[in-house]
C-alpha cells in the first residue's frame, strides 16, 4: 500500500472495507478503489465523429509466447455495438456478457436492435447494483461503449459507480491523462472516420510513452454507416498498418520539436499485472 497520508480518510477508519457503506464525508471507498484498478490498466479510447465511432486500445503484451493478433480485447456486443474497457480483464468479460444478454433480451421483446442509450440505461443499472451489496465488489473496469443506431452514432463511458456519460472522445486506463488532452484538441464536428482511426493510433501510441518498457499491440475497431454498413468490426489490416505508420511518423516529428515533452506523471505506482 502507498503512504497513508494519501488515503488519510480511508485507511484505518473502516469505511473502506465494505461495499455499500458511506464514509462520514459521503464517499464510497470501494468504488474509488475500483477506479484505481482501472487506472493501472492499458489505455482504451473511443472517438465519436460525424459518420461513426472508433474504439482503440493499447493491449499490453505480458508474454512473448502470446499469439500475435489473437486474444482480442475489443469485443462486439451486437452487430451495431462495440465495447472496449480498461481494468480487470475478467470483470470486463463479464461486463460484455451482460451487455450481450441485455441487447438480446431487448431484441427478443421489441424485435429491433437495441438503441445505444437503452443499453446504457440497463447496463448502468447493473453496474450500480454491484456497489450496493456487501457480498459483491464493484466492477474493476471502465467500459467504453460505442455504436450506431437510428439516431446516429453514440459513444458512452461507464464507470464502476454505475454512472455513464456520453462523450465525443473518451479515454480510460493508465494513459488517460495524455489521451484526454490529445482528444480535446480534435475537432469532432468535422472529423471523418478515417482520420479518427489515424488519430486513435496516434493517441494510443502517445499514451504508451509512460509505459514504454512493455510491448503493446494496437487494436482498433470502427462502426460506420458508410464503410461497415452500420456494423461494428475490426478495421481492415491495411487501414491498421496505415494508422500505425501515421502514428510512427507523427511521433518522429514530435521528438524533434520538443526533447523533454513528458505528460502528467500518473504511472509511477507499483507494476501490477493488470492491463
Amino acid at each position: 500500500m502507498k503512504s497513508t497520508n494519501i488515503y488519510l480518510t480511508s485507511i484505518g477508519t473502516g469505511y473502506d472495507l465494505s461495499n455499500s457503506v458511506f464514509s462520514p464525508d459521503g464517499r464510497n471507498f470501494q468504488v474509488e478503489y475500483a477506479m484505481k484498478a482501472v487506472e493501472n490498466g492499458g489505455t482504451s479510447i473511443g472517438i465519436k465523429c460525424k459518420d461513426g465511432i472508433v474504439l482503440a486500445c493499447e493491449k499490453i503484451i505480458n508474454s512473448k509466447l502470446l499469439v500475435p493478433g489473437k486474444n482480442k480485447r475489443i469485443q462486439t456486443v451486437d452487430r451495431h455495438l462495440g465495447v472496449v474497457y480498461s481494468g480487470l480483464l475478467p470483470d470486463g468479460r463479464h461486463f460484455v456478457n451482460r451487455c450481450r444478454e441485455e441487447s438480446q433480451s431487448f431484441k427478443s421483446i421489441f424485435k429491433i436492435p437495441i438503441p445505444v442509450p437503452n443499453l446504457l440505461d440497463r447496463i448502468g443499472l447493473y453496474v450500480q447494483n454491484y456497489t450496493c451489496y456487501n457480498s459483491v465488489r464493484p466492477f474493476g473496469i471502465v467500459g467504453i461503449i460505442g455504436g450506431i443506431d437510428d439516431n446516429g452514432s453514440h459513444l458512452y463511458m461507464v464507470e464502476p459507480s454505475g454512472s455513464f456519460w456520453g462523450y465525443s472522445g473518451a479515454a480510460t486506463g493508465k494513459g488517460r491523462q495524455i489521451a484526454k488532452s490529445e482528444l480535446e484538441k480534435l475537432k469532432f464536428d468535422d472529423l471523418n472516420i478515417k482520420d479518427a482511426i489515424k488519430q486513435a493510433a496516434r493517441i494510443i501510441s502517445l499514451a504508451h510513452e509512460d509505459n514504454k518498457d512493455k510491448d503493446y499491440e494496437l487494436e482498433i475497431s470502427w462502426c460506420s454507416k458508410e464503410f461497415t454498413n452500420g456494423k461494428h468490426e475490426f478495421i481492415p489490416i491495411e487501414l491498421l498498418e496505415e494508422a500505425k505508420k501515421f502514428a510512427e511518423e507523427d511521433e518522429g516529428d514530435e521528438d524533434e520539436d520538443e526533447e523533454e515533452g513528458e505528460g502528467e506523471g500518473e504511472g509511477e505506482g507499483e507494476d501490477t499485472e493488470m492491463n
Binding site: K70, N71, K72, Q75, T76, D78, R79, R100, Q104, K107, K111
Partner: protein
C-alpha cells in the same frame, strides 16, 4: 361414453364418478384444478398462413434454390411479399415452406445463432457453414415435434460443407432429415422433382451439370409450378451459391422479384375436371 363435445370420449360421470387426474400422475393436475377446465392443452394443429414449394438443386460447383413470395390463407392469396429464402452467415441459404409465422420464428432464432457464432468474438475460429445450420435446425425441429408442438415447416438448407463441396439437406416438422442432389418441398416434390431428376438422375450426377443447366431447370420448374400449383405465385426469389474455382472463393448471388418467363397458357383450354365447366 360422454357425448358432450368438451368431454367427448370420456367415461360419463354418472356411471364412473368424476375423472380423477391424479390417476396418471399427470403434470397438469394443478392447472386443471386451478382454471377448472377439463379442456386439454392444445398446440398447433394446422398451419394458418402458408408458403408453398421450395425447390433446389446442386450443380458442379454450387447450388441453386428458389421459392416464390406468396403467403396463402387457405386458398386465398393473402400476401405476395413474403421472402422465404433466408441468408444465414456468408454462404448458406435456408428455404422454408409451410407456416409463415413459424418461418418468422425460425428467422429470428437463425439471426440469434448468427450473432452468437459470427458477430461475437470469433478469434480465428470456424464460421457458420451449411451443415452447422442444418444440424441446428434439425435439433430444433425434432425437439419441437417431440414436445408435440411442431414448427409446421419443411426446410431446405443449401450451401457448402467444410470441404467446399455443395451441400443440400432437408428437415421438416417431424424432424425427418435427408440429403439429395435435388430437393423440393410441398407440391414441388411432385411437380419439380421429375424435371430436376431428368437433369440429375442420381445424387452423384450433379458434377456433370453446370450452373446454366441447373438454372434453366429451376426456371422451368417454377413455371410448371405456377401453372399447376394453385398456391404458387408468379414472382419468386432465387439464390445461387457457387465456388469460383479460379479464386477458390465462394460467391453468393441473391435475386429477388424474378418473374416466371415464357408462359404459354394454351394448354389451359384443354384442362378437364377440377371445377372446369368445359366438357
Amino acid at each position: 361414453m360422454n357425448h358432450d363435445p368438451y368431454y367427448w370420449g370420456r367415461p360419463s360421470d354418472e356411471v364412473y364418478g368424476q375423472y380423477n387426474y391424479n390417476i396418471a400422475n399427470a403434470k397438469n393436475v394443478e392447472q386443471h384444478n386451478q382454471n377448472n377446465s377439463n379442456f386439454p392443452k392444445m398446440n398447433t394443429q394446422q398451419p394458418i398462413i402458408t408458403g408453398t414449394s421450395v425447390i433446389s438443386s446442386k450443380f458442379k460447383n454450387g447450388i441453386i434454390i428458389a421459392a416464390d413470395n406468396v403467403g396463402s390463407y387457405g386458398s386465398l392469396m393473402r400476401f405476395n411479399n413474403i421472402e422465404r429464402l433466408i441468408k444465414v452467415g456468408s454462404q448458406t441459404i435456408v428455404g422454408i415452406s409451410g407456416d409463415i409465422s413459424d418461418l418468422q420464428y425460425i428467422q429470428r432464432i437463425l439471426d440469434e445463432l448468427e450473432i452468437q457464432q459470427e458477430v461475437y468474438d470469433n478469434d480465428g475460429g470456424d464460421f457458420l457453414i451449411a451443415p452447422n445450420v442444418h444440424e441446428y435446425l434439425s435439433r430444433v425441429m425434432y425437439n419441437r415435434r417431440s414436445n408435440m408442438n411442431p414448427l409446421w415447416n419443411s426446410i431446405i438448407v443449401a450451401g457448402f460443407d467444410s470441404e467446399k463441396k455443395p451441400f443440400l439437406r432437408y428437415v421438416d416438422l417431424l424432424g425427418v432429415t435427408y440429403h439429395a442432389s435435388t430437393i423440393a418441398t410441398g407440391f414441388g416434390s411432385h411437380l419439380a422433382i421429375p424435371l430436376l431428376r431428368n437433369l440429375i438422375p442420381e445424387n452423384k450426377d450433379y458434377i456433370n451439370v453446370n450452373e446454366e443447366q441447373a438454372k434453366k431447370v429451376i426456371e422451368d420448374s417454377m413455371r410448371v409450378l405456377f401453372y399447376r400449383d394453385a398456391r404458387s405465385g408468379e414472382v419468386y426469389s432465387y439464390a445461387v451459391i457457387r465456388l469460383n474455382e479460379e479464386t477458390g472463393k465462394i460467391e453468393f448471388e441473391f435475386n429477388k422479384k424474378t418473374k416466371v418467363e415464357d408462359q404459354k397458357w394454351r394448354f389451359a383450354k384443354d384442362i378437364r375436371g377440377y371445377g372446369s365447366t368445359q366438357h
